[in-house]
């Protein structure tokens, strides 16, 4: 189906090779478009475009990077057509919010308590509402970096390339995201379930 009459790809770029990247591309698209069908379409178009332009692929940047580049254009097209504004995501690195988590001497300020049976939480519907709230509470840029890494499954260096972050800023953002998520889950779920069983705030 991907094969169009006359389209000839170099031997090193096979359909199977392209298809191997489909899951990551799909998650990436789903994250942005929030709709299975739209995401699927965008990925389909991306793979088709990649196949047709296979001779342009120089292999320098890596296949996945190249494919994501195409996918981003497809997603941008979608936004352009549906006239939704794309928000630019800025982050202020001078704002050191790790200070909320640690004291001046580097020790925890409060800090992680032991969680009671986290595995069980994964099986509870209510937990996912809390998880989503906590994830949505991250500042936009931090959420983007966290999601590209943990939900889409890109490697750290790929996330940096996607977002234009330096290595150092990536580490800072990821670390803050984890500190925040951890604390949010502890406050909203794990401490709650200790205090009163079965009752949780959304």
């Amino acid at each position: 189906m991907l094969l169009k009459a006359g389209a000839e790809a170099p031997t090193q770029l096979t359909e199977a090779l392209l298809a191997a990247h489909r899951p990551v591309l799909f998650r990436y698209a789903l994250l942005q478009l929030r709709d299975n069908e739209l995401a699927d379409d965008a990925v389909q178009e991306t793979l088709l475009a990649a196949w047709q332009a296979a001779s342009n692929f120089e292999g320098k940047a890596g296949l996945r990077t190249w494919l994501i580049g195409i996918l981003k254009h497809k997603i941008a097209d979608h936004w352009r057509h549906s006239a939704r504004e794309v928000v630019s995501l800025e982050v202020d690195f001078t704002d050191n919010d790790e200070d909320d988590f640690f004291m001046n001497n580097g020790h925890w300020n409060g800090g992680p308590n032991t969680w009671n049976d986290p595995e069980a939480a994964l099986k509870q519907q209510e937990f996912w509402g809390i998880y989503e709230t906590c994830q949505n509470n991250l500042p936009p840029r931090m959420a983007q970096v966290f999601m590209l890494r943990e939900l889409v499954g890109l490697e750290a260096n790929e996330v940096c390339r996607e977002t234009g972050l330096s290595d150092a800023n990536y580490w800072v953002l990821m670390h803050r995201a984890r500190l925040r998520l951890r604390e949010c889950l502890e406050i909203r779920w794990f401490n709650q379930s200790k205090a009163k069983k079965g009752k949780h705030h959304a």
């Binding site: 001497n105 992680p112 989503e132 670390h175």
Partner: protein, 66 residues
């Protein structure tokens, strides 16, 4: 001895790249004595797992849309 602030930053980095042997050792020694950093370590691993599971949820949910 490295502080909790430094150790947790290393723990976080360890989830995204390979740490040096020295860094591994520093973490292991620290969490042996510090329950909070030990909790942080296991909880960040849990968060990774939850994020992956959440992605599956998200895919299921959006496929159920009319």
């Amino acid at each position: 001895m490295r502080s909790c602030r430094e150790i947790t930053a290393l723990v976080s980095q360890g989830l995204d790249k390979k740490l040096s042997l020295g860094e591994h050792l520093a973490i292991s020694l620290h969490v042996l004595l510090c329950s909070r950093c030990r909790n942080f370590q296991s909880q960040t691993q849990f968060i990774r797992k939850a994020a992956q599971r959440y992605t599956e949820h998200m895919q299921n949910r959006s496929s159920k849309k009319p």
